[in-house]
Symmetry: C2
Subunit: 189 residues, 2 copies
C-alpha cells in the first residue's frame, strides 16, 4: 500500500489548473507534517498556504522548474499548480533544520497523493523575491515550496543506463521519464 503510494508520488509539474484545492485540504496535509518526526522534537517548521488565484500568482514567478528540460520553462497557463505550501524554518526556534523539511515534504506529498493530488518539491526558488512578494518576515527562512494540483502528465520511472545519466527527459508525446539508480548500486554493504 505505502509502496503504491510512493510509486504514484512522482514529481508532477503540469496540472489541471482549474481544479480547486481547498485551504482545509492544505491544512490537513500540514497536519501530517506536524505529526511527523522533527530533530530533537524542536518542530521549527512553519507554513504558508496558498490556494487562491491571486496568491498563487504571487508565488509562481519565483519558482524554477525542471532544470534539465532546457526547452521547457515550466507549466504554462492552464497547467499551473492549484495550490502551494511554503515550508519555512523559524530561526527563533533553531538555526539548524536538519532534514526536517524533507520528512515534512514527504508526509505532505504522500497525503496529497492519497487524495488523488500530486506535486513537486521545489528548492530552486528566488527567495528574496518570494519573501518580498508575500511579506515573509526575516525570522522565517524559506526552505521549500511544495506545488500541488491534480496531475496532468504521465511520469515513467526507468533504470539509469550504463552512462550513469540521471537527467530526466520528455519524450515526443510529452511523457516525463525519470532514470532511477538500481537498488544494487545504492546498497553498498
Amino acid at each position: 500500500m505505502i509502496r503504491d503510494l510512493i510509486m504514484g508520488n512522482r514529481s508532477y509539474r503540469r496540472f489541471y489548473q482549474e481544479f480547486i484545492i481547498e485551504r482545509a485540504t492544505l491544512a490537513e496535509l500540514v497536519d501530517l507534517a506536524r505529526l511527523s518526526a522533527s530533530a530533537a522534537n524542536r518542530q521549527p517548521l512553519k507554513y504558508i498556504l496558498s490556494c487562491d488565484h491571486q496568491r498563487n500568482a504571487l508565488i509562481f514567478p519565483h519558482l524554477s522548474w525542471a532544470g534539465y528540460l532546457g526547452d521547457w520553462a515550466g507549466p504554462s497557463e492552464g497547467e499551473k499548480p492549484s495550490a502551494y505550501i511554503i515550508v519555512l524554518g523559524d530561526i527563533e526556534i533553531t538555526q539548524s533544520f536538519g532534514c526536517d523539511h524533507g520528512i515534512a515534504a514527504q508526509s505532505i506529498l504522500l497525503g496529497a497523493r492519497e487524495k488523488g493530488l500530486g506535486g513537486c518539491i521545489i528548492a530552486n526558488i528566488q527567495r528574496q523575491e518570494l519573501r518580498k512578494a508575500l511579506d515573509i518576515l526575516p525570522r522565517y527562512k524559506i526552505l521549500l515550496v511544495l506545488a500541488l494540483g491534480k496531475p496532468k502528465e504521465t511520469v515513467v520511472i526507468e533504470t539509469v543506463g550504463s552512462d550513469g545519466d540521471i537527467k530526466y527527459w520528455h519524450d515526443s508525446e510529452g511523457r516525463h521519464h525519470v532514470p532511477k539508480r538500481p537498488l544494487s548500486e545504492i546498497i553498498i554493504s
Copy 2:
C-alpha cells in the same frame, strides 16, 4: 490511511530485541527511498544495512539516544534495535544533499510501520567512530542512522503547553510523551 500510518510512526527507542528483521526486508524499505524524490534527481544517497547481532553491536555504541531524557542512556540489552539502515551521502555525486535524507527516512519509516515495525531517525552519531567500526570510505558522508525493530514502548502525543516546552518526557509507567505544537501555531498565513 496515510494519517494512521503517520500517527503510528512515532520515534521508538525500545524494541523487542530478539525479533528478527531479515536483510530482504531492509532492502525493500530502501527501495521505497529509492523511488522517492531526490533534488535534481541526483540520487546521491547510499545505504548500509545491518540486521545481524555482530554488525548491530558495532553500530549501537556510536549512537546517542533521546537527549532530553537525562536519566536514560538509551535502550538496555534486550530492548535494542533489531536492525539499522545507515544513510550515507555520496560526495562523488554531490556535496549538497539538501533534504533528500529526510525524504528517504520518512519513506523507510512509513514502510517499516506498515510492516508492524517502528524506528527512530538518529542524527546524533559519533561519526568518526562509526566510520572506523564499519570501514566506511571517506567518499560517503554519514547522514543518518535509522534504528529499526518491533517497538516495545507506548508513545503519547500531546499539545505543547503554554510554557512552550517541547521536551519529551517519560512518565512513571515508562510511557514516552511527546509535546507537539498545534496546527494554529505552525500555519502562519
